[in-house]
Amino acid sequence: MTDLPLVGFVALSSALFAVGLFGILTRRNFILILIALEIAMNAAILNFVYFGAFSGGPGGLSGQAIAVVLIGFAATEVAVGLAIVLALNRLKGTINVAQATDLKL
């Protein structure tokens, strides 16, 4: 058993989420956007584990179980994202998202 403050954990994950959000909004390279998305997603998954651990009882296990499922979702999302990167690279010759404008009217 360890004693840890809840507030520090939530502050950490919110800071990480802010970093990820900043990266998603500013980067132009598709792979960098995926990485920023993963950082934000990790911050969100951490929240489930903290709050589960701090609520105690069966809630702690539910938090961990949902985190397992979410890690799987995040890995799936990277796989699909990289498929899109490859398709974009084949179509445009670049993975700069500013040039992916085919659906614009």
Binding site: D3, L6, F22, R28, L32, G56, A65, V69, A75
Partner: protein
């Protein structure tokens, strides 16, 4: 200050520094290296929270699979692997939005109970019972979505698609 709190502080600082460094360095390969350290650091936080199963999963899925997948993505999309990215700079509006998000969450955190609660360790068998029993539908949903994602990825990257 207990040893766990010190460990948490150190891990939190490393997580923040590596996350920021990953997004600010100009070489994409260096980004991958920083983000790999970030994933290992998050896995250490899981071990600190007495969730060893998640820690191992994080090491395997993120530090292992996702990092290598991203490296392959870089390898096949650029001619010179270590080429530098064009500087995108730090634009004001996204920075402000990120800071506002952070401040908003911190304001909400202020309302949380300020006590530190004991973190309990669990038997992995209990976790697996929970995962396949109570949360079984989520796991099935994950399987379905992964299957759809595999089919979609293959459709996106197959040869000869017009």
């Amino acid at each position: 200050m207990s040893i766990e709190e010190l460990a948490f502080l150190a891990l939190a600082v490393v997580a923040l520094v590596t996350a920021v460094a990953a997004l600010l360095v100009r070489e994409l390969v260096h980004t991958i290296l920083w983000v790999a350290v970030f994933f290992v650091d998050i896995s250490a936080i899981y071990f600190l929270l007495q969730a060893p199963f998640l820690g191992v999963l994080q090491l395997g899925v993120y530090a292992g699979a996702v990092t290598i997948l991203l490296l392959f993505g870089i390898m096949v999309t650029r001619k010179r692997i270590f080429a530098r990215e064009a500087a995108t700079g730090i634009s004001e509006v996204p920075l402000a939005l990120a800071v506002v998000t952070f401040i908003f969450v911190i304001a909400v955190v202020g309302e949380l109970p300020q006590t530190s609660t004991p973190v309990r360790s669990y038997d992995p068998t209990l976790l697996s019972e929970n995962l396949f029993g109570t949360n079984g539908p989520w796991l099935l949903l994950l399987g379905l979505i992964m299957m759809g994602a595999v089919a979609g990825s293959i459709y996106l990257v197959r040869e000869g698609r017009e």
